[in-house]
């Protein structure tokens, strides 16, 4: 069980914001912090690992208090047993893959856990390579293996797959799943990717402006609510064309451009650059597979 009751004033690009969280995470659970950038997701990981100090509050992990402003307990990052996979992987550039893993060992730890990890993460061929010669996906596997060497109590993953293309991301999600099943670690993932969250995690906290906006299983948060067969997208008006009977409005939705037919009086309310909601009831939409 991880008890997290913290408050911290954060300075970001849009001014200051109070991060105020009270989470209880069950042991061995795989949870996600989800939300737009700048809501303090990474800060939560930094405070759990001791790299950042909350202004007030308490962090307890498995009956052990790591941080408490009341009793003035504050374990250094060195004393907290945390595995951390950084967004930029943070591999030591002057060490080979094997040296990176060996460096992560605790003082009197033997080599068996390292050889296990090399096997699980399929790093046999890469052991003597330097990080600069590895691809993004390979670096990620090394970073994940390195975070597990000390058998941490918590695994913290800060958008670990964000920089990778979708095929490799897919493969690495498999590794993450395998690691979680194998080591049964309490895992906290920071992610934007809904597919990834649904695939990997047990529980989601959706953050907004430093607070929990919604929480629940990934299905409850992302899937159930949109089961009505309704398509709903926000877009921007690019062009309005007057035809004889109707008007045609061109709307950009993300990277796609669509044309929507509307009545003249509806079109008269619109100007180019407006944000609009495009919605439609679709009882039997067509689904085409474009990529495995």
């Amino acid at each position: 069980m991880i008890k997290l009751d913290i408050s911290k004033e954060l300075r970001g690009a849009t001014g200051t914001m109070i991060l105020r969280l009270n989470l209880n995470i069950k042991s061995e659970q795989f949870i996600t912090l989800y939300g737009p950038s700048g809501v303090g997701k990474t800060s939560v990981l930094r405070m759990i690992s001791g790299l950042m100090q909350p202004d007030f509050g308490q962090i307890c992990v498995e009956e052990e208090t790591w941080f408490d402003t009341k009793t003035k307990v504050n374990f250094s990052p060195q004393k907290r047993k945390v595995g951390y996979v950084f967004q930029d992987y943070a591999l030591f550039p002057h060490m080979t893959v094997l040296e990176n893993l060996n460096f992560a060992k605790a003082k009197n730890q033997n080599n068996s856990s390292i050889s296990d990890l090399i096997e699980i993460m399929e790093l046999e061929q890469l052991q003597t390579r330097k990080p600069e010669t590895l691809s993004g996906g390979q670096k990620q596997r090394v970073a994940l293996a390195r975070a597990l060497v000390q058998k941490p109590k918590i695994l913290l993953l800060d958008e670990p797959l964000a920089a990778l293309d979708s095929a490799i991301r897919h493969k690495l999600q498999g590794y993450l799943k395998k690691v979680h099943q194998e080591f049964k670690l309490t895992t906290i993932l920071v992610s934007h990717d809904v597919g990834e969250i649904v695939k990997l995690t047990d529980y989601v906290y959706q953050l907004e402006e430093g607070k929990v906006l919604k929480q629940g299983t990934p299905e409850a948060i992302f899937i159930d609510q949109s089961l009505s067969g309704k398509f709903k997208f926000t877009g921007e008006v690019l062009k309005i064309q007057q035809e004889e009977i109707i008007s045609v409005v061109t709307v950009r939705i993300h990277t796609d451009v669509v044309k929507v037919v509307v009545q003249h009086e509806e079109a008269s309310n619109l100007t180019i650059g407006d944000k609009v909601l495009v919605l439609s009831k679709a009882f039997k939409p067509l689904l085409y597979k474009i990529e495995a």
């Binding site: 001791g50 790299l51 990052p77 060195q78 004393k79 950084f86 943070a90 992560a104 390195r146």
Partner: protein
């Protein structure tokens, strides 16, 4: 030919560089990590020797270390150290005079290491000391080399500070740059030329080696 001034120059440069490695790295580490509001003040102090005329520095050293002054008197009476017109005085003055040449490259090297790399090491339970030795310093070898070589070369070329605090005592404080001045004043151009040529050749080789190494001409050997 009298090699003594040249040997003395390199002895001074060697002592100064070794002491600067021991002092400069912690200073650079502190400056690259501190959030203190006084940081600009300390940075300015470290950089002062870059712009201050060496004679100014030498003059204040002379004043401070002189046995006629409280501090110099205390050093003499309590510790038995005479820093004026002595080799140890030259070393101390040179260390301060060359401090920015060690601190600046190391500081910018340390600041250039991504924060997550040192944090990754902390999270693995490694102390700041172990992280500095095994993670940070090995990554900034070119900056360390630059700092060491520039400190050495700068000490070899120093004149004003040495003259002010060391004077011109053969075998004790008469380094090559002073010897050149001395010989020119006595119209011994051949001797002056000998010292000058040796200094020119050696400093050229030292600096060339830095540019070769840091320009990756010996790839795989150093980095």
């Amino acid at each position: 030919m009298n090699w003594e001034p040249l040997l003395l120059t390199f002895k001074l440069a060697l002592f100064t560089t070794v002491i600067l490695i021991l002092i400069g790295i912690p200073v650079a580490y502190w400056l690259s990590n501190t959030k203190s509001r006084l940081k600009p003040v300390f940075e300015t102090l470290v950089s002062m020797p870059l712009v201050l005329p060496p004679t100014v520095l030498g003059f204040y050293f002379l004043m401070a270390f002189s046995p006629n002054n409280t501090f110099g008197n205390w050093l003499d009476e309590w510790l038995g150290i005479k820093l004026v017109f002595s080799f140890s005085g030259l070393v101390i003055a040179s260390v301060i005079y060359s401090l920015p040449f060690m601190v600046h490259p190391v500081q910018s090297g340390l600041s250039g290491i991504s924060r997550s790399i040192t944090e990754a090491s902390f999270v693995m339970g490694k102390s700041k000391w172990e992280t500095l030795l095994k993670v940070q310093l090995p990554q900034i070898k070119p900056a360390l080399l630059t700092g060491i070589v520039l400190s050495f070369a700068h000490t070899v070329g120093e004149f004003g500070v040495v003259l002010m605090i060391g004077g011109n005592i053969p075998g004790k404080t008469k380094v090559a740059s002073i010897a050149i001045y001395d010989e020119v004043e006595a119209l011994n151009y051949d001797a002056a030329n000998f010292y000058s040529l040796v200094l020119f050749a050696i400093t050229f080789c030292i600096l060339l080696s830095v540019y070769l190494v840091n320009g990756n001409y010996f790839k795989g050997f150093w980095k």
